[in-house]
Every structure is written in C-alpha cells, then in structure tokens.
C-alpha cells in the first residue's frame, strides 16, 4: 500500500523534501513507516524516541502502533518550542 508522508520542520530539513510516498506491506503500522523513513533517508532522527515527534494520520493524533491503510496521509511534526 502507498502512504503519503508530509515532512515538517526538522524532518523536512533532514530529508530535503516536503513530501514522500512510501510503499508498505498491508498491516504496517506508523512505527513501521518510521523505520522505513529512517532507512530511506539514512537518519535515525525519524525513529529516535528523544526527538519529540508528534504524528497525525489523516489529520488526527495517532500513536505509533496505529495500523495504516492505503491512501493514508501522515504528518510528521516535531514538538519543539523556544524563543
């Protein structure tokens, strides 16, 4: 199945793109998606627990165990403040 991933802030900076399509097996979870992104961009920032990542699936909050379905749109948002 194909999942659309929208990358923001730090994730966009490290990936160098705003959006990417990811092919995953049926039954894959958000966690599997993050593993695939880490591999694709060769960067652990996508899977590191400390990077304060917040995920939306189809514009709603989603935990990492959420099972994805064909056509889902996932927003990857770091939770970083300051200034």
């Amino acid at each position: 199945m194909q999942i659309t991933v929208k990358l923001f802030s730090m994730f966009r900076h490290y990936a160098g793109v705003d959006e990417v399509m990811v092919e995953l097996d049926t039954g894959a979870t958000v966690s599997d998606l993050l593993d695939a992104l880490a591999k694709r961009f060769d960067n652990q920032v996508f899977v590191d627990d400390e990077t304060l990542l917040m995920l939306l699936v189809n514009k709603n909050n989603a935990p990492r165990q959420t099972v994805l379905t064909e056509g889902d749109v996932v927003h990857l948002l770091p939770i970083l403040g300051g200034g």
């Binding site: 900076h13 920032v45 948002l77 300051g82």
Partner: protein, 620 residues
C-alpha cells in the same frame, strides 16, 4: 566569596541619586540562588503593596544567576524583576546575550533601581565604579542607536547594556528591556517601568573574575554536555536548532495544535494548512537571509542569526532571525504566511523595544475585533486589519511603534486597549492582562496550570511540563498531578535561577543544571533542596501577589486556551483542560492552603529565609 557570585548588590535611588552597595549574604545566595529568587527576596522586603507600577516606589532589579560569567556552558541569562504595570502583580522576564555575565564581571550580582529621575539618565558601572549620567541625548533613540551612543559616550566599545527604546519611554505596556540589539527581557512591561523612572539604560563593563568552587569538575561537566550535544540522542535536534533556530518549528507546531492560530480561535491543520506552515518554517527562508550565526554567552547551540533582507517590500541591511514565538504571534495568530512581514515586525519590535509576543497577540486581537466590526477602517486610519494581511500587520506594528493614531491605543496591549475602547473583551486571550505565549495548553495541559498560577502569569518558560508533555499518553489525567508537577517545576526553577538557558534541555542532559551548579557553587543540590528552593522562590513571589490582593482562584483562564468549549475538529478536538484542578493539586504539593491560597505557616517556618512572608501572612 562563594563560588558563582560577585558577592555584592547595588542599590540606586534615582530620586535622591543615592548609590549604595550591600553584601550579598551567603544565606540569601543559598536560599534564593539568583534571578527572580534573589529578586523576589529583595523586592518583597523593599516594596510595599499597592504602589503604582509606573511610579517611583516600584523597584526594578537586574539580577544575574550564579552560572553567569563562570564558563558554565549556556549559563548566560539574567533576569529583570519589578511589579508589572500590566498585571499589577509580580513580574520577571529573562534574557540571553551577554549582559548578565558582564554585569557580574563589573562587580555586582544584582542592581536594584528605585525612585525616579526628573530627566533622562543612565547608570554606568565600569569595573565597580558607579555613576548616574545624563541621558538627554539618548532619549528618543532606538535600541541599536542607544547601544552605539553609549559606546561612543563612554569610550568603552566592549560595554554591554540593558536599555529601553522609544516604547519604554512612551510607557507602552508592551515595552521590553532590550540588550544586544535583539535580546529582550520582554514580558509584562518592564520597559515601561524603566521609562517611568527616566532610566534609559544600565551600561556595564567588567573584568573581574568570578570564583568557581570546583573548576576541574566544571570543566568535566562542560565536556560531558558538549559530548551529549554532539553525539547524544538529541544531537540532531541540537544541530537543527543551531542551523535554523527556534523558528523552524512554528509552522509545524501550528499543525500539531501547539502554536495558536487565528487569535486562538482556529485549528492549525484546518485554517492554516501545510503550505503556509512551510512558509513560516525558518528552513524556508534562512538560506536567503542569513549573514552569520549568533550565539549567546557560552552557548554551544547558537540558535540565533544575523539577517540581511536585500529585496522585497521591506529591505533591511542588518536585522535578526525571528524566534519561534515571534513567528507564531505575527504569523499563525493572524493567519499570516508572509515571512518577510514577520521579519519586518520583528525588526521594529527589536529596535523600538517591544515584546514580540504581546505585540503580535495584540494586533491579532484587534484583527478579530475588526472582523466583527468592533474596530473599523476609520478607527485604524485606513489600515485593513484582515486575517493574513501581512502589509497591514506591518503597518499597524509601525503605527504602534510610532505611538500614533490607533497605534497609541494598541500600544497599551490588548487588555488595556479593550478597556480604552470599551469593546472586544470576548476576544482577549490574557491572564491578568498578559497575552498568552505561543504554546497551547490543550496540547500540553501543564501550560494551563503554569499560565494560570505562576506568580508571573502567562509564561511558556515556567513550570515543569512544557511541550515535552505533548506526547505523554497520561497527559489528560488530572488526578494526583501535584507531586510530579512539584518535582518537575523545581528542576525548571533551579535552571531559571541559575542563569542557564532553557534551550540547554535540548542537549538531552537534563541533569546538567544540578551538575553545573554543584561545580560552580561547591554545594550539593539534592531533590529535597531543589524543592525547598522552589518553595522559597515561588512562595515569596506568590506572597508578593497575595499582598497585592490577588485571589488566584477568582480569575479564569481565557476559554479558548483551555477548550471551553472544546474544538470540534483537528488534533485537539474534544479537549478541555481542567486547569483549576491542576492548580489545586500543585498548590497542595507546595503546602499552600487551597482555600486561602497562603503558604502554610509550618512549611514557611521549616524552609527558613521566609520571615518577612510569615510576618505579613500571619501577623508576627
């Protein structure tokens, strides 16, 4: 003197022009540490309740932390304390840059200024020599011009200064205390307090060495912090902040629900959207404008940058990258995706000396009033305050800076402006008159408690939970939160008092505050001592407010900020924050009576150092 301290405080009365030096005693340093701790202790004892915040009886303090000027990494922040002309209660605001360390090297842990001058003056401290000097020629100059004029007049190019621009001179309630042209102790109107005293600047230059109790240990801790930042689990976050600054997160945070949208009335992912979020991400414009990196004293992240805008509607030869909060207040809060307009507003605020959070939030409030016909085009003298209108936002920001027309009314901040025009109360998003910063309690409910009950209301840097709470699955469980809140808040309190930057926590080395403090002061800080310090430093500021007649539970949080009613869509749909329960849990953990809100007598007695508070609250 103790490690981490110059050992002296300076008291300047501008009415009598009396200058007095006092020893910073060991017990005050140990009990109240620095920043708003020592500031709270001194102001509580110097001031009487009920004084006019813009009158001579208010006292404004410039207070360092023990880590300033010791070589401790990221230990460069100082704090400005006073009674706020916005809230009428306690105020503290802190700032980075280089002023705090320089003040301490000039000989003083803190400078407290009382009284008022009848003509503009500045205070010049040059390695322990103190003068009150005429500032007539400086009055009217902006923050950049003032700093340059101070250097020329003293002949000391290396001086640092804490100063006001025209905003403070005009007594704008959004006036910040500026240093290094773009660093601001901004919130709560401290610039207006300086202006009311006709105090244009506190200029300092020093070469004194500050003692460090255990220099080898400090070097070791610094080395560990450096390694954590470069190779630890947060290394990529540190690197990104160093490259793009805090502004890389604003657009994304609007989508997650963290950064408020449309004067707190919108839903980021619905009303602002992905493309606009990218436009406000500093990663989208940094390469175009950045001329060099900027880092505060002893910082290993360096989240600032100098900018040059060569083209477009608002070219600027020398300006600075806006911070996360500024991109939120002038961007998402007004559905404005025009990053250049935010750069321009940021520049105006830095030069004229405004708090960017209150300025942006005030224009956002006016925009909602405009949408609903409470403010008209005739009122604004032709400025069309429509959502997303970047040019109008710049024009209104400039009108406020010029103190002209409707800008003069808005320079009071949203709450006082609402009172002045007798309209728009329903659209205010303030606690005790102070506009809320750019983090939504519905995403991280701990902000609700902090904004609501911290002695300095509406601060995103206070409390213990902050944005990191956003991911925790139990975050909407409001039962039994007091103990954890107390523990985390005490950790943040020590950080703030020490002079450390909150950004240091992004290195992932959360224990660094305690380790740095122990190396610098030579004194152990275990959990019990941290909590005792919190109970003193927050307790004395809380008592300052009780003495002013504040009844914490009689006020309400702005409804939009806590989901009353809850949002119908987006990541925060259905969320209502029980901020009053969070506050009551915290009060109980602090040993504060939930009915009277007073810190309990036996608790105050056990703490030590709180004699003046006990006398006021319990009459002997």
């Amino acid at each position: 003197m103790k490690g981490g301290y110059a050992g002296k405080m300076l008291f300047v009365d501008l009415s009598s022009r009396k200058i007095e030096e006092k020893k910073l005693t060991d017990d005050v340093a140990e009990n109240f540490i620095g920043g708003y701790g020592i500031g709270g202790k001194v102001l509580y004892e110097m001031m009487k309740p009920g004084v006019d915040p813009l009158g001579p009886d208010n006292v404004i303090g410039f207070v360092t932390g023990p880590l300033n000027a010791t070589g401790a990494l990221m230990g460069g922040r100082y704090t400005v304390v006073c009674k706020s002309p916005v809230s009428g209660t306690w105020n503290d605001a802190n700032s980075g840059g280089f002023f705090g360390p320089e003040l301490k090297k000039a000989g003083y842990d803190a400078v407290f200024v009382s009284g008022a001058s009848d003509k503009p003056v500045y205070i010049w401290i040059n390695d322990g020599n103190v003068e009150i000097r005429d500032a007539s020629k400086l009055w009217g100059k902006d923050s950049v011009e003032t700093l340059e004029a101070l250097k020329e007049e003293t002949g000391e190019r290396k001086l640092r200064a804490s100063l006001i621009g025209p905003a403070g001179e005009n007594l704008s309630l959004m006036a910040a205390v500026m240093n290094e042209e773009h660093r601001a102790a901004g919130r709560g109107g401290p610039g207006a307090v300086m202006g009311s005293k006709k105090l244009k600047a506190l200029a300092v230059r020093g070469t004194q060495k500050i003692p460090v109790a255990e220099p080898e240990k400090l070097a070791e801790v610094n080395k560990t912090i450096r390694e954590a930042a470069q190779n630890g689990p947060m290394a990529q976050v540190v690197k990104a902040f160093g490259q793009l600054g805090t502004g890389m997160g604003t657009g994304a945070n609007a989508l997650s629900g963290d950064t408020p949208v449309k004067n707190w009335g919108g839903v980021g992912i619905v009303d602002f959207g992905d493309e606009n979020a990218h436009k406000l991400d500093s990663g989208s414009f940094d390469e175009k404008y950045r001329t060099k990196k900027y880092a505060c004293a002893n910082c290993i992240i360096g989240c600032g940058a100098d900018y040059e805008v060569k083209d477009g509607k608002w070219p600027m030869k020398q300006t600075f990258r806006p911070e996360y909060e500024t991109l939120g207040s002038f961007g998402t809060m007004m559905l404005n995706d025009n990053a250049e307009s935010v750069l321009k507003c940021n520049d105006i605020c830095n030069r004229v000396g405004f708090d960017t959070i209150s300025m942006g939030a005030t224009i956002a409030w006016a925009m909602e009033c405009y949408e609903n016909g409470l403010i008209t085009k005739a009122d604004t003298e032709g400025i069309e305050l429509t959502w997303g209108n970047g040019e109008a936002i710049v024009d209104m920001c400039q009108a406020i800076a010029d103190h002209q027309g409707f800008g003069k009314i808005l320079s009071l901040g949203s709450k006082a402006a609402s009172e002045k025009i007798g309209k728009g109360e329903d659209y205010l998003v303030c606690v005790r008159g102070i506009e809320l910063p750019m983090h939504d309690p519905k995403l991280a409910p701990g902000y609700g408690r902090t904004y609501y009950t911290d002695p300095t209301p509406g601060r995103h840097v206070k409390g213990g939970t902050q944005t990191g709470q956003a991911r925790r699955p139990d975050k909407y469980n409001y039962e039994g939160t007091g103990g954890k809140d107390l523990k985390m808040t005490s950790g943040n309190e020590i950080l703030q008092l020490s002079g450390l930057c909150l950004m240091s926590q992004f290195t992932g080395m959360r224990e660094m505050t305690v380790k740095l403090m122990e190396a610098v002061t030579g004194e152990a800080i275990d959990e019990a001592r941290q909590i005792a310090i919190l109970k003193r430093t927050m307790g004395i500021r809380h008592a300052f407010n009780l003495r002013e007649g504040l009844k914490p539970f009689d006020i309400e949080m702005p409804k939009r900020a806590v989901g009353e009613p809850p949002q119908a869509e987006g990541p925060l749909k259905g969320v209502t924050v029980d901020y009053k329960l969070l506050a009551k849990n915290f009060f109980a953990a602090m040993d504060w009576d939930i009915e009277t809100c007073k810190p309990k007598r036996e608790s105050l007695e056990a703490l030590g150092g709180m004699e003046a508070v006990i006398k006021d609250l319990y009459g002997e």
